[in-house]
């Protein structure tokens, strides 16, 4: 089979996510490009959880509602997913816990998992190895692939796990063949991990975070790497403290980042204004999830675009980038770090639950080379002035301790030295300085891949962030062009105008109810003809988009 889609479902907290990761790695080892969609409720144990792992020859970043194989860990995995089944969907299930009464699917593999676990001497938590062993047999995947993965990632009690997997393998039968592909094996990362790599690549030394779905994997990644990379990982009392601590590090010349979602970012906004006024660099990973307020904590949304564009009182420049998969998350996280420090302003990596927690095949070769770019540093001589006027608005940085000098930063309107002033000319100068920096950033933007175009045609889909993958795939099938905005502030007007050349009908695709990107285009004198909006917390599937498009394009 050229591609395969596997759904694994069971109770939350009992290893379904681990099963998804293991299947993703298994397919990756065969040379496939993978995408893992992870759906779970906001609770620790109980409730229904499922993953859909899709593997394809080409890079993908979208899921299909219709799956080829279901791994049924419990009855809900069947009952709640009847709409995911095709006529020929293979169902591999635990016959001790699952009944298939009334299903028309004829291809099934049933295993008495409890008996197998008992025979193997394994614990109930090892049931996934049994079903994944059976999956290997069903797709005629050499058991050695699974064996290597278990030894590498599940080394604890590996012998038991291998025995369980082997028994699952032996009790199943071949149904189809997933051939190994002759292309490089790529690592499988979620978006948080990819952003983490990009931030490290761009020289990040400190990460400050308060736990929050969906960015906690970033905090956990860095916490684990603290000794190896000599990082500071700090977990303060609130997101207010997170932002202020980030600015303290920035004042000292320490490249840092913070990560949060809408609720936490609401608290950070107070400190964000300080970053604007004091021209302190800060990188904010802002991962959208369903809101307002607590909303649906583990579900996705693209509802905070305008919040991020306008957060904070007063007027100050910012960079907002919106990567749409792991490759872009890596690259743009690094760009955000470099530009925050070059221009001394806040830089946002605006992502969502989908990008953060779903897994992708990561290919750093697919994006431009990232470097750790140095900021503009003060070389002397004379008295250091933190806010010295310059042609491009960028004042050279210096950090304490500096013999004979004082580095003064201020939340008030301030003079060049950094002391409070309410003089009207100075006040205007401070704002003009920000505008000047923004203008230079916008000019630099012209040389970046800020707007990407895929395919061609007079009808185009417009997207940002996580809808990139689904748009590209469906547009490819229907013969449409795709325009993806990767930079949202400063608004890339020129690049967008070029991308729109020859487009007669523009259809935006967003996970919100009000068409936030469409609004942004209208503000910048562009026009969107049709909007496809989804706001139930679930990412847009290939089938969702195709159905909506056929309706819109009638």
């Amino acid at each position: 089979m050229p591609e395969v889609s596997v759904l694994a479902g069971g109770q939350t907290g009992y290893g379904i996510d681990s099963a998804g990761v293991l299947i993703s790695r298994l397919f990756s080892r065969l040379g496939y490009r993978i995408y893992l969609k992870h759906d779970y409720p906001s609770l620790i144990r109980g409730g229904h959880q499922f993953v859909i792992v899709r593997a394809s020859k080409d890079q993908i970043a979208a899921h299909s509602d219709l799956v080829d194989i279901v791994l049924g860990f419990n009855q809900d995995a069947i009952d709640l997913h009847k709409t995911n089944l095709k006529e020929n969907t293979l169902i591999i299930y635990d016959s001790a816990r699952v009944q298939l009464d009334g299903l028309s699917q004829s291809t099934v593999i049933n295993l008495n998992v409890r008996e197998i676990l008992d025979a193997a001497g394994a614990s109930p938590a090892m049931d996934r190895f049994c079903l994944i062993g059976a999956l290997c047999r069903a797709l005629q995947i050499d058991f050695v692939f699974l064996e290597e993965l278990i030894l590498k990632f599940d080394a604890e009690l590996a012998e038991l796990k291998l025995r369980t997997a082997r028994m699952g393998y032996d009790q199943a039968r071949p149904v189809d063949t997933l051939q190994p592909l002759a292309q490089p094996v790529l690592p499988a990362l979620n978006g948080c991990q990819a952003m983490g790599l990009g931030l490290l690549k761009a020289g990040m030394q400190a990460y400050i975070g308060y736990p929050m779905t969906p960015v906690s994997p970033l905090l956990e990644l860095f916490a684990g790497l603290e000794p190896e990379f000599g990082l500071h990982v700090v977990l303060p009392e609130s997101e207010i403290a997170v932002m202020l601590s980030a600015l303290g590090y920035s004042y000292m010349g320490v490249k840092n980042a913070v990560g949060t979602s809408g609720g936490g970012f609401s608290l950070m906004v107070e400190g964000l204004g300080l970053a604007g006024q004091a021209e302190l660099p800060v990188v904010v990973v802002m991962a959208q999830r369903s809101g307002p307020s607590t909303g649906m904590p583990t579900y996705t949304a693209q509802t905070d675009l305008h919040f991020v564009l306008h957060a904070g009182h007063g007027e100050f420049p910012r960079l907002v980038v919106a990567p749409g998969d792991a490759d872009e998350a890596y690259y743009w996280a690094g760009v955000a770090m470099n530009k925050a420090w070059y221009y001394q302003m806040p830089a946002f990596i605006l992502v969502d639950r989908t990008v953060c927690l779903n897994m992708y095949s990561f290919d750093s070769q697919s994006v431009p080379e990232l470097e750790d770019e140095p900021p503009i540093l003060w070389q002397g001589p004379g008295r250091y002035q933190r806010y010295q006027k310059t042609e491009n608005g960028i004042s050279p940085l210096a950090f304490p301790p500096l013999p004979g000098q004082a580095v003064k930063t201020n939340s008030y309107v301030h003079d060049e030295y950094g002391v409070v002033s309410e003089n009207p000319a100075i006040a205007k100068g401070v704002v003009d300085k920000g505008l000047l920096k923004e203008r230079h950033l916008a000019e630099e933007l012209l040389s970046w891949p800020a707007v990407k175009v895929y395919g061609q045609g007079s009808e185009a889909l417009l997207c940002w962030g996580s809808n990139k993958g689904v748009c590209i795939e469906v547009a490819g099938k229907l013969g449409l062009k795709v325009i993806q905005l990767l930079v949202l502030a400063p608004f890339p007007s020129q690049a967008l105008a070029e991308a729109l050349d020859g487009v007669e009908r523009l259809i935006s695709v967003e996970c919100n109810a009000t068409g936030q990107l469409a609004q942004l285009l209208e503000q910048n004198r562009f026009h969107v003809d049709e909007q496809i909006l989804k706001y139930d917390g679930r990412p847009i599937s290939l089938e969702d988009l195709e159905t909506s498009l056929r309706r819109v394009m009638k």
Binding site: F229, E237, Y251, P401
Partner: protein, 282 residues
């Protein structure tokens, strides 16, 4: 510029209690400098309120933060380079109301900072409202019929939270205050001085303090119960009675910044580490 002073004009009322704090800070910094501690290794962090302006008047590294948010910025500044001495100037509205959480957590961590609270027991810059330490008899512009809630005693809270140096000072007692300030700055760990700073315009307590302030020396500064007894002897509900000043508690405990690695800029070896890291995802 004259020594430590910048040319910034001072924006405090004549007779403001902040002047003596400024003079004392200059005296102590000069003293520490003459003892060999380089001036450029002091970093002053302040909040917003009349107290916060103090950093503008000193030609010393400074970070004028926002209302209530001095501590989290100061903590990161200390973590970034523990060789520096970080001194925080905060107000009572600023850090006992808006940002109290940060004070409690900084004490809990015992991070090596000095916090000087300019406690004038009113919102000065906001023109005369109640703070958590305003005396109950105060008739503020927003509470003309009196207090609706009781005070708390910040020293008790800080002591319980884990501060390793807890003191109260009255800058009118100049030598006493300067010694406290110097002790606090040289203390390793979280040091905290509640300063009876008088707002001449909105809560002029000079007369009351001159009558009621008493220098107290505890027998053993590491005795928690003794410290608690002295600290609890005045609860901020009044401006009179007997108000103890002095160093009430001092002890030694591992400070937060000692638990972090020294930060080095990412070198070329990071590239290799990143490659190795990526292998863990295959």
């Amino acid at each position: 510029m004259n020594g430590l002073r910048t040319t910034a004009p001072i924006a405090w009322c004549p007779g403001c209690g902040n002047f003596e704090i400024l003079n004392s800070v200059m005296a102590v910094l000069e003293e520490l400098q003459s003892e060999g501690f380089p001036l450029e290794k002091f970093i002053l962090v302040s909040g917003i309120g009349n107290h916060g302006k103090i950093v503008d008047y000193l030609h010393v590294n400074s970070f004028n933060s926002i209302h209530g948010r001095t501590l989290p910025a100061a903590e990161a500044i200390k973590l970034a380079n523990p060789d520096n001495k970080v001194i925080c100037f905060v107000g009572d509205g600023d850090s006992y109301a808006e940002g109290f959480e940060h004070l409690i957590f900084a004490a809990k961590r015992n991070i090596d900072l000095t916090v000087v609270v300019h406690n004038n027991r009113t919102y000065g810059l906001a023109t005369g409202q109640f703070t958590p330490t305003t005396q109950q008899s105060y008739r503020g512009s927003t509470m003309p019929y009196g207090a609706k809630e009781r005070n708390f005693n910040p020293l008790e809270l800080l002591l319980y939270s884990g501060a390793t140096f807890v003191a109260r000072g009255y800058p009118v007692k100049r030598e006493h205050f300067r010694k406290l300030l110097k002790d606090a700055i040289t203390h390793r760990g979280f040091s905290f001085i509640d300063v009876l700073q008088v707002c001449v315009t909105f809560n002029n307590l000079y007369e009351a303090y001159n009558e009621s302030v008493e220098e107290v020396e505890v027998y053993d500064p590491s005795d928690f119960q003794e410290a608690l007894r002295v600290i609890s002897s005045w609860d901020y509900s009044t401006s009179g009675g007997s108000i103890a000043i002095g160093k009430f508690f001092e002890t030694d405990r591992t400070s937060f910044e000692q638990l972090f690695p020294r930060l080095e800029p990412a070198g070329p070896e990071r590239e290799l580490k990143l490659q190795r890291l990526l292998d863990r995802f295959v």
